[in-house]
Symmetry: C2
Subunit: 288 residues, 2 copies
């Protein structure tokens, strides 16, 4: 595995691979790799000839300086994990390489995709930071395919919209959420959960399972499905920032469970903000 820190270097490596007829997969990360990232790297390796992983803790998408400061960083461990999962090129630029002096351009996806759920709670600048840096990373590396995780379901929708709206020549693949044995969605922030909070954190995935079970049992009223999830959160002493039953493409609120719905939750557990979601599929206008 080669580690490079400049746009010029990563482009030169990618150009050589492409000239040799090889396809390029990009897995953008902020480091602190967990099994979710490694799953994406393996998926990229199965779909593409060469896997590039970017490692860049993007300051512009953090709405709280404390969250940015607390974000775990261990490049040596990340490099070792990435290599073991099949990464061939590790692109780890510093902040000045990504945002040189005079930088003043922003890419914004407007509307419900960025103003609801995470956008409402973290502020609109969060997704502007994401879409700007993703546009840059895609232009820097120019992959054939880029891989994102379903744990950040809203982010994945925003990026699909971004790529479609700006006609970016790349295919977006969204990999399944990877979970701990007890159901907690893998996240770089999980390492900051202390003993008791770690147990409470399982409340999010349990709540989503409760919602799913309500639908499987025949419930079609979105409020009732949400209430089942909220009851579970209460059992775990977790007070959600939001728990929403929404359309999985537009994020518009749904009142009835008919066809696919996305149930998304965000909550602070101790000092750590966690998110999770589940896509629930039913037969449209029929029995689930």
């Amino acid at each position: 595995m080669r580690t490079v820190r400049t746009v010029a270097e990563v482009r030169e490596l990618v150009r050589a691979e492409r000239a040799a007829g090889r396809s390029i997969g990009l897995v953008p990360t902020m480091g602190a790799l967990h099994d979710g990232h490694l799953s994406l790297l393996r998926q990229a390796g199965a779909a593409c000839d060469v896997v590039v992983m970017s490692l860049f803790v993007n300051p512009t998408q953090f709405n709280e300086g404390a969250d940015l400061d607390a974000y775990p960083r261990d490049e040596a461990a990340d490099a070792q994990a990435a290599r073991s999962a099949g990464c061939a090129i590790l692109f780890a630029p510093d902040v000045k390489e990504v945002y040189p002096d005079g930088f003043c351009t922003t890419v914004e996806v407007a509307g419900p995709l960025t103003s609801t759920l995470e956008g409402a709670h973290r502020g609109p600048s969060h997704f502007h930071g994401v879409t700007t840096v993703v546009t840059k990373l895609l232009n820097m590396v120019q992959p054939d395919v880029a891989f994102f995780g379903q744990k950040d379901a809203q982010q994945a929708l925003v990026i699909r919209r971004l790529v479609r709206d700006l006609d970016m020549p790349v295919r977006i693949v969204v990999g399944d959420t990877v979970r701990e044995p007890d159901g907690l969605a893998r996240s770089s922030r999980n390492v900051r959960l202390s003993g008791e909070d770690r147990a409470r954190a399982t409340g999010l995935s349990r709540a989503l399972r409760a919602a799913e079970q309500a639908v499987v049992a025949g419930e079609r009223d979105a409020d009732a499905v949400a209430a089942a999830a909220r009851a579970t959160l209460t059992d775990f002493a977790v007070d959600p920032e939001y728990l929403a039953v929404v359309d999985p493409e537009t994020l518009a609120p749904r009142t009835e469970i008919d066809g696919d719905v996305l149930v998304a939750v965000a909550a602070r557990v101790g000092a750590v903000r966690l998110i999770d979601n589940v896509l629930i599929t039913t037969t449209p206008n029929g029995r689930g």
Copy 2:
């Protein structure tokens, strides 16, 4: 020359050319071709193996509906002119192909580059419209080089910044302003100038020449240089929206003529809004 109307078609043609080892030049236009465009097409043909011209009257960069409605359109004449100037692929998408339902992404360059001069007088949405459509056109066609005209000096600076900030893999070339024999900068809007206004319109280029002559004669005070230009505008009964002596890279106002300066002017002549500019070069800290 092939004429295509969809992103899929232009990409297929470009892919085939590139696979054959040929370089691609893009000249983005809004049609109504004049000698300035033809000069860019010839410049593209000299620098690249295959010249693509886009023809799209972008509604999002017009701040006045009347200006958009009055914008001259004659695709048959444009196609003939483009072909004669060496264009191989004419990409003429309709509005729905560029902005399909659900489109909601904007690319914005912030700061003085977009807030001063044209940005101050046409409103910030003008340049947001330009940067968004240029990002899309560059992604649609994926040229090696894209060509813009120096007549729109501020637009060229904004696009250079856009491409640098978003790490777009394209080289930007800015072609010299082409003028009528009497000095009027070629513009698609010139055809809307009536007899008397056509004569008054030469005041803009004459004023810029007066500014240049003042500098050549030794004037180093920017206000005095601007005053010389304004006096000429008055002679032609032209009241400028702005006449500015600015840094040619940052567009910051200059008080002293030292090194290169850009003198830019905008004015309504009858019903037509015209712009023009001149880059004046002096020896820094010495005699011009």
